[in-house]
């Protein structure tokens, strides 16, 4: 009669036991005796260590004397911790969280720039796709505006403002500003502007948001939101009472005659707003403004050669 022998792998140590064990192997560089501290281990730690040593085929003596053996034990504990709690799914969510907060290193954001979307207006004006992407990739300054309560509003996006200082050989230096929406690890293009110091007064030490505000003070159109004074630029405000059936953008369009793109009589206006509506019916605005595109295009063509 055939018999079947069952082998079972030792169950991995709990994360806390693994962490304690690991800390014993993280040798204090200032210690005169750079050996793992294996005295006074708890029963669980001893059991976990013996299981790991048996799996790796390493003796306790080797662990005390060999850096290589010690590193192999550390690696085994690391793998056990990763397998338990740092799975790809968990890490992907961690990346999205960092992205939403604006805490992700800039090079880890992915950039979406659809020439048929908001970028179309700027490409038709004369901006180059690569130049826009370089504002983001090679920015001299970045400011990520956080939005509040994002977990409650899945569609909410943060806003990021990138600035790149440009010094063309044959024309005036300018600051190139790109405004991007931010969700998870994605940056989505919203608008790009050139700030020429001969036209827009920029103060030393301005933040990207200051720069955008200075730009809008020059090229912007005044508007008034419900129960708010006339202004050209709103940053981080909460409006509780838009009329039924309207939101920030439709309100701005009605208020100023702004359009996203297109040809019509009179100055062409472009409204930009980063906002979200909370479950309580309040519109939280990251920032919003309306630009007189006719005026801006005139300066753009005169100064950007």
């Amino acid at each position: 009669m055939a018999t079947t022998q069952h082998f079972s792998m030792p169950s991995p140590p709990s994360e806390l036991v693994a962490a304690r064990l690991m800390s014993r192997f993280l040798v204090d560089p200032l210690s005169a005796e750079p050996e793992p501290r294996l005295a006074d281990m708890s029963a669980e730690e001893e059991e976990a260590l013996h299981a790991i040593l048996a799996t790796l085929g390493i003796s306790e003596g080797e662990v005390r004397t060999s850096d290589v053996a010690r590193q192999r034990v550390l690696d085994a504990i690391s793998k056990s911790i990763r397998a338990r709690s740092l799975t790809p799914d968990v890490l992907e969510k961690a990346g999205a969280r960092l992205g939403n907060e604006g805490s992700l290193p800039d090079s880890l954001y992915q950039i979406a720039l659809d020439p048929r979307g908001p970028a179309r207006l700027f490409l038709e004006l004369g901006e180059q796709r690569d130049a826009i992407l370089n504002v983001v990739r090679k920015a001299n300054a970045v400011q990520h505006l956080s939005h509040r309560g994002d977990s409650q509003i899945p569609e909410a996006m943060g806003q990021s403002i990138f600035v790149r200082q440009m010094t063309p050989r044959k024309s005036e230096p300018y600051a190139h500003i790109a405004v991007m929406s931010r969700k998870g690890t994605q940056l989505q293009f919203e608008s790009v502007w050139r700030v020429f110091p001969s036209v827009v007064r920029v103060l030393e030490g301005s933040t990207p948001l200051d720069l955008l505000r200075a730009f809008v003070e020059h090229y912007g159109v005044s508007f008034a939101l419900p129960n708010r004074p006339l202004t050209k630029f709103i940053v981080q405000d909460a409006i509780p009472d838009f009329p039924p059936g309207t939101n920030l953008m439709s309100y701005l369009v009605n208020e100023t005659g702004a359009v996203f793109a297109g040809v019509h009589d009179g100055p062409e206006l472009r409204a930009q707003g980063a906002f979200k509506r909370t479950p309580f019916g309040i519109t939280e605005i990251d920032f919003t403004f309306v630009v007189n595109m006719t005026r801006y295009a005139s300066d753009f063509h005169a100064l950007a050669r």
Partner: protein, 162 residues
């Protein structure tokens, strides 16, 4: 006579993590010379070997980033070290689980730009009292090396050669 500055080379991601997740306190190994090869031949500072020489570490990381070498030993060493450290920090309560996941995301991102080197320039008089001499057994060579466990972000400048 020791100079007024100390030097340490570290990858950008380490600086980023310490600044954003550890209260802008940095654990650094440092040397009295940016490049021990330029120290006087018979001086102790000249005895810091390449593996601990800040400029050599800088060049090594720079080369790894330039060539896309994700298996660079320094990068691997720091990745393992951070997994160990974050586990320990979670265990001692100085880091929460969410933050550990975020640090691990950075470590595993595969984006080599995160590993570009920074040279820390540290005015010695600000940290003299907290400099701990590395025991000879843990040094890579005979030259003096120091550890500062809690270097504040305002106590040093970072230099990046482009």
């Amino acid at each position: 006579m020791p100079g007024p500055l100390l030097y340490s080379a570290n990858p950008w991601v380490k600086w980023h993590i310490q600044r954003n997740f550890r209260g802008d306190r940095h654990y650094v190994w440092c040397s009295e010379q940016a490049d021990s090869r330029t120290a006087a031949p018979n001086s102790l500072a000249g005895l810091v070997p390449p593996t601990s020489n800040p400029l050599q570490i800088y060049k090594d990381l720079h080369e790894a980033c330039r060539t896309g070498d994700t298996h660079n030993s320094k990068i691997k060493e720091i990745k393992t070290s951070y997994l160990s450290l974050t586990t320990r920090w979670v265990a001692d309560g100085s880091l929460n689980v969410t933050q550990r996941e975020e640090i691990e995301f950075l470590m595993k991102s595969g984006e080599l730009k995160l590993w570009r080197p920074l040279l820390y320039v540290i005015p010695r008089d600000l940290v003299e009292a907290r400099m701990q001499s590395v025991p000879p057994a843990k040094r890579a060579g005979l030259g003096p090396e120091y550890i500062i466990e809690d270097l504040a972000g305002v106590e040093f400048d970072t230099v990046e050669f482009t």
